[in-house]
Symmetry: C2
Subunit: 313 residues, 2 copies
Amino acid sequence: MGILVVGSVALDSVITPFGHKDEVLGGSATYFSLAASYFAEVSMVAVVGEDFPEAHMTFLKNRGINVSGLQRRKGRTFRWKGEYGLDLNTRTTLDTQLNVFADFSPKLLSSHCSQDYLFLGNIDPDLQRSVMEQMKQPKLVACDTMNYWIENKRESLLKTLAAIDLLVINDSETKELADEPNLIRAARLILSWGPKILVIKRGEYGVLMFGPNSVFGIPAFPIENVLDPTGAGDSFAGGLMGYLAACGACDDVSLRRAVVFGSVMASFNVTDFGPEQLGNLTRPEIDARYREFRQLASFDDISGKYTEVGSKF
Amino acid sequence: MGILVVGSVALDSVITPFGHKDEVLGGSATYFSLAASYFAEVSMVAVVGEDFPEAHMTFLKNRGINVSGLQRRKGRTFRWKGEYGLDLNTRTTLDTQLNVFADFSPKLLSSHCSQDYLFLGNIDPDLQRSVMEQMKQPKLVACDTMNYWIENKRESLLKTLAAIDLLVINDSETKELADEPNLIRAARLILSWGPKILVIKRGEYGVLMFGPNSVFGIPAFPIENVLDPTGAGDSFAGGLMGYLAACGACDDVSLRRAVVFGSVMASFNVTDFGPEQLGNLTRPEIDARYREFRQLASFDDISGKYTEVGSKF
């Protein structure tokens, strides 16, 4: 089944302790689409300026991504510049130029409206709802958000949350959104507002998912050569939604596997600057990393047996 | 097989956002022994003062812990006072009175020297080696340390590390010890100095273990009512060593299960002040939490099959 993603396409300039790159292809819709493209048909709704390189358009098309909704407008493409600290856990935004993204008002084509899976990237929650209203009858709607919307458009964000199925945010956003320092209580509170599933991204610490009936946790894949974490969260969401769309199910087991495939895509993404290596993977590589995740996280067989020892008291 | 633990026994005064308790039973040897006592015979070597309440001694004995090596010396018991921040991730030491612990020089009884498992709590690395030298032929030696020894007794600490099998430290200590911001590279470096196994405690984010042939990661058990994290790391080490001693093996599967049992014991410990609830568990409760961990962390069956979907490219 097909996925529609609405979000940003940007030109990113990134400085990390290991180097820097200027004006690489970036944005939430970009990373999401590339990651999801290994699993399902993806259509992208976003806006770029007249200066957006044709090579980037070709790169996206080569991954089979439907870019008919990627509008080219008069003006310059959205630009973001950021710098990461030594452990890559802290990020400082050095410059943001919204340019054509400032007036982004997503209009869906009729082919978009009938997609089964919808991912609302981190944009104004008013826009997120306007997209939802244009959709016919999506099977699953997921969204991301950020501290800016939590702080400045809380009421609108709560309306969006009441209408979606799955929320993907990071742990500090979870605590801030719920105004609750305990992550577990924060998660339960957010679930009471509407979403059926809350997926909490914890960066190098992995992911925690709160579903209707269970909690699932997985560490991040241990990566020695993290070069640039930009786009990791969106790659994660792309792998997650891609797997769900591909299997067409949303039961507990499918959700857990989707979280692992999301983590797989994020683990590939962080090992280089920009989205290039994310666009040049093969499905066997992805499946092999999935199996490595199983090795990383498993400690028992499914039969529920383990050596009963030391029951001396 | 039996475990010997050498470490501190203290009277802790703890302030958290959820309350405070004065002079509760604490110390690394205390939490370790209580957790390990559900799996194996534990003997404790530590020192207390004349003021150490007899009730605490009884509490330890009631868990079957051998306290023949718990020396009572002239003077006052080691006291520690600390305060936790709102999210319980930051801890400020308000007061430390070493008292009789200042001159602690562990002398083992002959029954101690023949134990198969040795855990060296967070004490001066010189003392850790002096204990090792008194042991006959332990099957497995594990140790803990802290930033104080990393910063002030680095050379001695490195000698200790060269002689042990298993190191249990937290993630910031791992990075500081290796002087390397990437945790994975830091772990590989530390393993090159001697220990065969490195277990990295990440608090609410879980545990990462680097063994000779594999990496294992598990999230922490999601706990809504964390009241006091004091002793979580030592409870973890106690469950880990307890399971290893009980099964008498140190293969990859046993180590993974031991990490889960360690996480189980830590998850019980944090839900109340002091060590009381840790001393009042039952083995069925512990085994039930282990099974809950399996539910938390599993995403696939052991056969290696998962639904192959979406291989469109």
